[in-house]
């Protein structure tokens, strides 16, 4: 269950009160609270800490801050997460080296890739980076089916890195619509330092 409280425009203690109300109605899941100032964010953080709830903070810009609070049996969830997650430390890097997923049929591959990128946005724990090279960069340009999802990932703090040589090759440099342009050095470095590399 995922819920959002938009507390923009409310002054303290109202954001906290609205959040408390929403938490009461939730047995488990994630509550996302949007506020427009850091003081309200800090008060919400204080509350989450006091209540012993796992939470994440994110600042979109000066007037938009988000706290995500995990509700319910989070201890159990965490334990399962640890079990499910590969037992490694370091960053999680997703490598998209093609605009299709798997081999066999191109059209199917494109549908699968679209689903894969969407599924990334739904993860509780997002990857740290997405690297796109070869025809993978076609996912990052205007008109791509995955553009919205990649932008969503970027908004939530995931670094989106596109191979500059590849963009040039496909003549798409000016069409790039998400993330930044990178070079081979960074592509190698990111994979060297990664704890986990996910390649569909």
């Amino acid at each position: 269950m995922k819920k959002t409280v938009d507390a923009t425009g409310l002054s303290c203690p109202l954001p906290v009160i609205e959040t408390k109300k929403a938490l009461k109605e939730m047995s488990r899941g994630e509550l996302e609270v949007i506020v427009d100032n850091t003081i309200a964010l800090q008060n919400l953080e204080k509350m989450a800490k006091q209540m012993g709830l796992d939470h994440q903070l994110e600042t979109i810009n000066e007037n938009k801050h988000i706290i995500r609070i995990l509700v319910g049996d989070t201890a159990g969830e965490e334990a399962r997460d640890v079990e499910a997650a590969p037992n490694v430390s370091g960053k999680t890097v997703v490598v998209l080296s093609s605009d299709t997923m798997g081999s066999g049929d191109q059209d199917l591959g494109r549908v699968l890739m679209k689903g894969f990128v969407f599924a990334l946005t739904e993860l509780d724990r997002l990857p740290d980076k997405v690297l796109l090279y070869n025809s993978g960069v076609k996912l990052s340009v205007a008109g791509s089916d995955s553009l919205g999802d990649l932008q969503k990932l970027e908004e939530r703090g995931v670094e989106i890195l596109n191979c500059g040589t590849c963009l040039n090759f496909f003549n798409l440099t000016n069409e790039l619509a998400v993330g930044s342009v990178t070079n081979m050095y960074e592509i190698v470095q990111s994979q060297m330092e990664a704890g986990t590399i996910i390649q569909p």
Binding site: S11, C12, P13, L14, V16, I17, I39, N43, K46, Q50
Partner: protein, 310 residues
């Protein structure tokens, strides 16, 4: 060039300005006004006046004249204004001062306060720095009025809690000032917008540290419950941010007390630093005034942390 008779100004974040007229006479000047924190205009007038007069008491001075400062919407019912002024003038009278006039302007919101002038022997000024190791710290009013007023704004405060807050906010610091005048005072300030810890921080300067007893803080009981229920204010969090690095809060101090210590006060009590050996005696006299008060901590040599709450 500095006028040698200008004794106290903003440099040490003191409560009021002091100017020496003769060897044994100085004037104390202060000004304070703000928007309403309670619905009742008469009570608001009393609170605003008590708050403005408080700075004079915090210097150890006696208020003599006061001038009204009024912002009031042209279209609003003038009866409301007259109740505000009524409340204010009664407090000025209770202080033994003269309400000598004032100035009003049209504004979108109501604001009210006073400019107060008092007198003092310049050799007996209480500044807000001067704490000495071995001093005890006394607080003459309970904390938590900020939390209660803010809970009241969102309809969450009980009538009883609000009544207590109003009683404390409308009580003049005159009586507490008269009590402490009989003792050697090393430093004195009134607790207002920066909260207890913020004003204590100013008082300690760079030479001393303080230990605060988390279980001996006079406070409105329901303020504690409201804070534990997270009816917490933005202003308290700003105070907390400002004091980051200066204050260490022990693990046994409940969250509610922590919030109360950062809670901005309106017309709060005096925070007084007196030698340890007279602390109990001062407290005994203060208790006779009938307000919750207490010895809330002690001053020590400057340590690693400026303020430790335990």
């Amino acid at each position: 060039m500095k006028d040698p008779n200008f004794l106290v100004g903003f440099d040490k974040s003191d409560d009021a300005a002091v100017y020496r007229l003769t060897d044994d006479l100085a004037i104390v000047q202060t000004l304070d006004f703000f928007p309403p924190m309670v619905d009742d205009p008469y009570i608001f007038g009393q609170v605003a006046a008590a708050n403005a007069l408080s700075d004079v008491y915090a210097m150890g001075a006696v208020p003599k004249t006061a001038l009204n400062i009024v912002c009031f919407p042209e279209k609003m019912d003038l009866n409301v204004l007259s109740q505000v002024l009524q409340g204010g003038s009664e407090k000025v009278m209770e202080a033994g001062a003269v309400l000598a006039g004032g100035h009003s302007i049209d504004d979108v919101d109501v604001k009210y306060g006073l400019s107060v002038t008092g007198i003092i022997d310049p050799r007996k000024i209480y500044t807000n720095v001067g704490c000495k190791p071995g001093d005890v710290l006394l607080l003459t009013k309970p904390l938590g009025v900020g939390i209660v007023c803010s809970a009241n704004r969102v309809g969450e405060a009980s009538a009883e809690a609000m009544q207590q807050a109003v009683r404390y906010m409308t009580t003049l610091n005159k009586y507490a000032a008269e009590v402490v005048r009989g003792f050697p005072v090393h430093a004195c300030t009134d607790v207002t917008g920066f909260g207890f810890l913020g004003h204590l921080h100013e008082m300690l300067g760079s030479e001393t540290s303080a230990v605060i007893y988390g279980n001996r803080i006079p406070h409105i009981p329901e303020a504690f419950h409201y804070a534990e229920e997270f009816l917490i204010t933005g202003a308290a969090q700003r105070n907390r941010n400002f004091l980051e690095g200066f204050v260490e809060i022990g693990p046994d101090v409940p969250f509610g007390i922590e919030e109360i210590l950062f809670d901005p006060q309106t017309s709060g009590g005096l925070l007084v630093s007196v030698p340890g050996d007279v602390g109990e005696q001062v407290l005994e006299e203060l208790e006779k005034l009938g307000l919750p008060c207490g010895i809330v901590g002690e001053v020590i040599e400057r340590g690693e942390r400026e303020i430790v709450v335990r």
